[in-house]
Amino acid sequence: MSFVHVTAGAASNPGFVLYSAQGYDSAMVKAFNATHPGFTVTLNDNSTGPLLQQIQAEGSNPKWGALWVDGAAAFAELDKKGMLVKNSVPSVSFNALGSANVPTDKSFTPTGLTVVGALCYDSSQVSAGQVPSTWAQLTETQYQGLGMNDPSQSGPTFPLIAGVMTYLAKYKSGSPAHAVKVGEDYFKSLYQNALVVNATNGVTLGAMASQQISMAIIQSSACYGDILNGSFPTLKVKYLNFSVALPSVIGIDAKQPPIVRKDAKKFVAWVMSRAGQHAMQLGDPQGDSLFWPVIQGEKPSNAIIPSLASTHAITINPYVWGPLESRINTWFDDTIVNG
């Protein structure tokens, strides 16, 4: 059992603590520490929920040096409170979706993309021809009993809902009130079409596997993971007329001393380098490593993953939708889950 004390102002470089929920994080940190003597990155791996609770509870006496989770909404919030180091994005050539997910003040960096709103279906229950192609079709009675996750339990699901609202209302900027209304109506009609809500990706896939439902809209990496690890061989993935890009994002704590921020920047730069990106793809081969790179010219780790273009992924603005997450999740819980 070892104790960790983060003491500021130590003579040697104390390194920093990385709060991360990513499946490849321990492989990444190990690789980085092995090749970068001078300071140590200490990994605080946990699920996203507890990490964010820790950060929030730590308040103005933070212990985290950098945060690395899926979804940008939390980072938008942190940025608004001035808790992120601005201009911390390393200079790499992002692809289109990558650039779209870099904020104007460059306070956080997208490190990869998954997609939510992938339509996963059980090919032993429905054939390819029986699967819808558009979101509008999901409200039709022939596609009754669709499954999805509960946004208050499943982190990637709120961005999906925000994406649906954005797309259906063609929201670009300004007040999102109208888009919210349009989206709420849409989900209400799904609800009336016997929508089945489960907690997380794993549980929804389980419901499909036990034939309670035959298709669901969930996160791409979860579907590919189940296909690859053999637990759900008949699972297939289709992308409808749009889906929502969910970046994995890393940001640096502005309240840390300069030396710590510098160390964190070095780490982020390494993550975005070729070596780092490859390490990401090897670190969790049947889980989080099943992402689309945000860097031009890089390919996904596994042939099972189709081209990014085929996903019709759109980006949502975390600064707009982040603040609405609590309200919309509560609405969803009250109206759809417990309705």
């Binding site: 059992m1 104790f3 960790v4 609770q53 929030q56 997380t200």
Partner: protein
């Protein structure tokens, strides 16, 4: 244990202890429990206190908590906890009477079974039930169709049933201790004056009213604070419970700690009425002493047919409460892709067990986490045991009066604090700048996690020990002192032997609770030192439920193994005289 008897000696002076030890205990409790919990609760009205909002004082969160889902959660929790408490106490009283006062078969087995029931955490129970009853679950794998039960189970009925089995052992131990102190003379007096058997029972049962009330209060508090069932069954059945809504309030980012604080305050305050009721009924009666001279109660001798029936009934209760979920989890862990429809039928496999130490996907092995959890369990159980003895003696020594009642309320209220509140409260308090800078910097270290785990286990273990500790005659210790033994030597010679078994069982209880504790572990574990409960949860929720279930079964088996070894060691190491006396959990 709390039985009215004629005082054997005039009242002792509880205030003769030097004031310093009282202050020391107060300081320890403040640092362990009060400061972190109050830090969290203050956010209910003052979010700015810990930079969680702009207001120094506001009531909007209080009104916010009593609306929508959170309001439903509070109301559901209140009536479910009341119902569960009544059910658990009724069932526990019946079982206690059957096991201690009749000649049913296998009494030892049932007494031990009650212990196992106590030690298995609620989330493992619900895992077992879910594994068993879900479509293509364990029941299906052995050829039973339970689809009709599944829908019923994932609703208020299932919740009440599982929560009752969780509360049952708490109620049972308190009531059986009370029953054991009830001599046969009271029943004899009733029978001689013409009472039927039923009337005798009704006459005599109120004599253990203090034990019944205590059991009701603690069943209520434990149920209010239960998270395992609320999170799984409650969520699935769209039947929100307060602990779940509390969790939901902080699971978003930004977390709404203030609403959570209001809910937590309601949970804690909800334990005040049961204590007040207990106080009123008992008035000035407090924990009374029983000497070693209490006669052994007589057993009701059933005729053979009734005997078999009664034994079968008890067996059925244990089967449903314990056997079913454990079997569900164990069988489930051997079924390939449990819960999945497989066109080729059911396959049993060792696959998941082979993966727990060498996972094929990039999840973590359970090896290091389980070792860490055992180490934590060792330290936490020992620390809690020492503190609990000190607190229990104090609780028992101060007779009647407001200080005992305050301690009682405090301890019961602490039982009602959900683990996540304690965990986040620890961050608030121990990460305060002036604390980390000038006092002690232990946030994000194992010592802090251990402190929080001790804080979580202490109230329950103190109440657990208070009864048996109160039954030790003070004169035994005094006799040792007068005849030449110093303070510690006298305690070791006179009190320790009588307490040794309760100490052992209390230790085991906290040891197992620590290994299975999830909420605090999740929020406070230090970097790269993940306890087993967190690993298991990650598997169950995200990676691979099959491996997660296998890990759960392994952990349960390991906990039971430790218990068996500990009991064996106790038997081997302690003098014969110790094993004859004092409280025995499995005495029948």
């Amino acid at each position: 244990m709390i039985v009215e008897t004629a005082p054997l000696a005039p009242p002792r002076d509880g205030r003769r202890r030097p004031h310093a030890s009282g202050l020391a205990i107060g300081a320890v409790l403040t640092l362990l429990i009060v400061a972190p919990v109050v830090s969290f609760l203050l956010l209910a009205v003052s979010p700015r206190m810990f930079q969680q909002g702009p207001q120094w004082f506001t009531l909007r969160f209080i009104s916010g908590a009593f609306s929508g889902n959170t309001d439903r959660g509070i109301i559901n929790s209140l009536w479910v906890s009341t119902l569960v408490a009544v059910l658990a106490v009724s069932l526990a009283t019946t079982l206690a009477w059957l096991i201690h006062r009749t000649n049913i078969l296998g009494r030892r087995v049932w007494a031990v079974g009650m212990w196992v029931l106590l030690l298995v955490p609620s989330w493992m129970m619900t895992l077992g039930w879910t594994d068993l009853l879900q479509p293509f679950g364990a029941a299906n794998a052995v050829g039973l169709n339970t689809r009709w039960l599944y829908g019923e189970f994932f609703g208020p009925m299932g919740i009440v049933i599982v929560l009752t089995t969780v509360a049952l052992p708490f109620a049972y131990f308190i009531i059986s201790a009370g029953l054991q102190g009830l001599g046969p003379e009271y029943e004899d007096a009733a029978r001689i004056h013409g009472a039927t058997r039923w009337l005798t029972l009704r006459t005599v049962l109120p004599m253990i009213a203090p034990a019944l009330l205590s059991a009701l209060a603690i069943s209520f508090a434990e149920t209010m604070s239960d998270f395992g069932v609320a999170f799984t069954l409650g969520y699935h059945s769209h039947f929100p419970l307060a602990t779940y809504t509390l969790f939901a309030a902080i699971d978003n980012y930004p977390a709404n700690f203030s609403i959570a604080a209001v809910i937590a305050t309601v949970l804690i305050l909800s334990t005040v009425p049961p204590i007040a009721l207990q106080s009123r009924v008992m008035r000035s009666r407090t924990y009374a002493q029983l000497s070693g001279r209490t006669q052994a109660p007589r057993r009701r001798e059933f005729r053979p047919r009734i005997r078999i029936l009664a034994t079968a009934a008890v067996a059925a209760v244990f089967f449903v409460a314990l056997g079913v979920p454990v079997l569900g989890a164990v069988v489930g862990s051997f079924v390939r892709n449990l819960g999945t429809y497989s066109p080729t039928g059911v396959h049993f496999t060792w696959l998941y067990y082979s993966q727990i130490f060498h996972p094929s996907i990039s999840g973590k092995s359970i090896g290091a986490p389980l070792l860490l959890s055992n180490q934590l369990g060792l330290v936490v159980a020992t620390g809690t045991g020492v503190l609990a003895v000190v607190l229990a003696r104090r609780l028992v020594a101060t007779r009647g009066g407001w200080s005992q009642r305050v301690t009682d309320v405090f301890l019961l209220g602490s039982v009602a604090v959900p683990g996540v509140v304690l965990g986040v409260g620890y961050i608030f308090f121990y990460n305060l700048s002036f604390i980390t800078r000038d006092v002690i910097n232990i946030y994000k270290t194992l010592p802090l996690l251990m402190l929080a785990l001790v804080a979580s286990a202490l109230p329950g273990q103190t109440r657990f020990m208070a009864g048996p500790v109160s039954q030790i005659q003070p004169s035994l210790n005094e006799a040792a002192r007068v005849h030449g033994a110093g303070r510690f030597a006298a305690w070791r010679a006179a009190s320790l032997p009588l307490m040794s078994r309760i100490l052992l069982w209390g230790w085991l209880l906290t040891f197992t609770k620590t290994i299975s504790e999830l909420a605090i572990a999740q929020i406070l574990y230090p970097p790269s030192q993940e306890p087993a409960s967190v690993t298991i949860q990650a598997y169950l929720a995200n990676f691979n439920p099959g491996t997660g279930t296998a890990m759960t079964v392994l952990t349960l088996a390991e906990m039971l193994g430790v218990i068996v070894i500990a009991l064996g060691l106790y038997r081997a190491v302690t003098p014969r005289g110790w094993q004859r006396v004092g409280w025995s959990g499995v005495q029948t």
